[in-house]
């Protein structure tokens, strides 16, 4: 099944002078939408977590119309926003961060950089969002 190559090229309506498309300078949003979300998925040797990809595309959905423009204007908050970062997701990572912070505070306290007593629990408590723990 060989393609009639000459016919194919000849009948491309917009290869020669694309009146509608953007050619190779296609909108980044349109490209990302296709290369991340469409295209056939076959198993690779390198397994990337699809959940992370999902998250990425959700993130991109939020900006997708305007990535070019936003970057031009130097807006890149999504790269630093923990709410949009995969690393800040899930109870486990929250718990992990909590543990890390506690360890840090302990270390600081031992090096007496922080006053012991009433100040410290408040810091820890403030980190534990959602768990009302009154002293």
């Amino acid at each position: 099944m060989t393609e009639p190559l000459a016919n194919r090229l000849g009948s491309y309506p917009s290869r020669a002078a694309p009146p509608y498309g953007q050619g190779s300078s296609a909108n980044l949003a349109d490209i990302l939408e296709r290369v991340l979300d469409k295209g056939i998925v076959i198993a690779g040797d390198i397994q990337i977590n699809l959940l992370d990809i999902e998250l990425l595309t959700i993130k991109l959905r939020l900006l997708v119309a305007s990535v070019d423009k936003a970057k031009e204007m130097g807006i890149d908050w999504w790269e630093h926003d923990p709410a949009l970062s995969s690393r800040a997701r899930g109870d486990r990572s929250l718990a992990e961060e909590n543990r890390r912070l506690r360890a840090e505070i302990d270390a600081l306290r031992q090096g007496d950089a922080l006053p012991t007593g009433e100040e410290a629990p408040r810091i820890t408590g403030g980190r534990r969002r959602g768990s009302a723990r009154d002293e």
């Binding site: 393609e3 949003a29 349109d30 807006i75």
Partner: protein
């Protein structure tokens, strides 16, 4: 272990001259593009290039995918290779960052999937994808004749203004609906398949006030159109907003058939809009 991995772009029908067409292409990280072909005689090929393992190992890849600049570079390279080859033959685009340990592993996968690939390529042969987006732009509607508000108390004038704006919005969304129906009709006439994409929203730009011109994206579809019907399809689509104030229809393409690469009904595909 080699420090290079095999990055796969697409499955293609290995037509004559394809090797030559691929030779001058540069893919991800500017690497030369080649063809991994089947051992058998079915003439399927996997378009590949080699990438640094340090950038495409699992952990590195995860990190990189969160980096918009890296992602953009890879996405554009990925798309560039697919687009160039789509001019020569039917292309089955793969999802971004499909990576194998070496060419031999890639060949195994190609051979294992050959039935599906061959079926899909046959289905897509001689067709291209067109994107069609419809935007509603209430702010583009000519202003209603000025109302002498001087004789109204400020509160009433405000409310009347709001009502007018609301009715302009309603009219524009009805008009957009009408444009969408016209596009669907064009699709039914000329296209062989349709996939709905999620609408594009960019509140970053809106917050910055730069999206006023773009309007709100209310329809974002992809149509699979036979090459000999493209002119007719586009003619109909580009006239879909004729006579409709505040509605803009935008066609992009031709694209390689990204949105139709996954067989309908399989996970990952969203071919919910198959046309009668």
């Amino acid at each position: 272990m080699s420090d290079l991995l095999t990055y796969a772009y697409a499955v293609v029908r290995a037509v004559e001259g394809l090797q030559e067409a691929a030779a001058p292409l540069r893919g991800v990280a500017d690497a030369p593009v080649g063809l991994v072909t089947e051992a058998g005689d079915d003439q399927l090929g996997l378009v590949v290039s080699h990438v640094q393992a340090q950038d495409f190992r699992e952990d590195a890849l995860k990190q990189h995918l969160e980096d918009l600049e890296w992602l953009e570079a890879v996405a554009r390279a990925h798309h560039g290779v697919i687009e160039a080859l789509a001019e020569r033959t039917t292309v089955l685009p793969l999802r971004l960052a499909t990576v194998y340990l070496d060419d031999q592993r890639a060949r195994v996968v190609l051979e294992a999937g050959r039935t599906v690939f061959a079926e899909r390529l046959a289905r897509l042969s001689g067709q291209v994808e067109w994107g069609v987006k419809i935007y509603a732009e209430p702010s583009e509607v000519p202003a209603a004749p000025a109302v002498p508000a001087a004789d109204l108390p400020p509160g009433r004038a405000y409310l009347r203004n709001r009502r007018q704006q609301q009715s302009v919005r309603d009219t524009v969304y009805q008009a957009a609906q009408q444009a969408a129906e016209r596009v669907e009709t064009a699709g039914r006439k000329h296209a062989s398949d349709r996939v709905r994409h999620r609408v594009q929203q960019g509140f970053v730009a809106e917050a910055a006030g730069s999206a006023a011109r773009a309007g709100e994206n209310v329809v974002n579809d992809a149509y699979l159109v036979p090459l000999n019907r493209c002119d007719d399809f586009l003619a109909d689509v580009t006239h879909a907003a004729d006579g409709l104030d505040g509605v803009r229809v935008e066609a992009t393409g031709p694209w390689a058939p990204y949105s139709f690469a996954t067989p309908p009904g399989e996970s990952g595909g969203t071919a919910e809009g198959a046309l009668p």
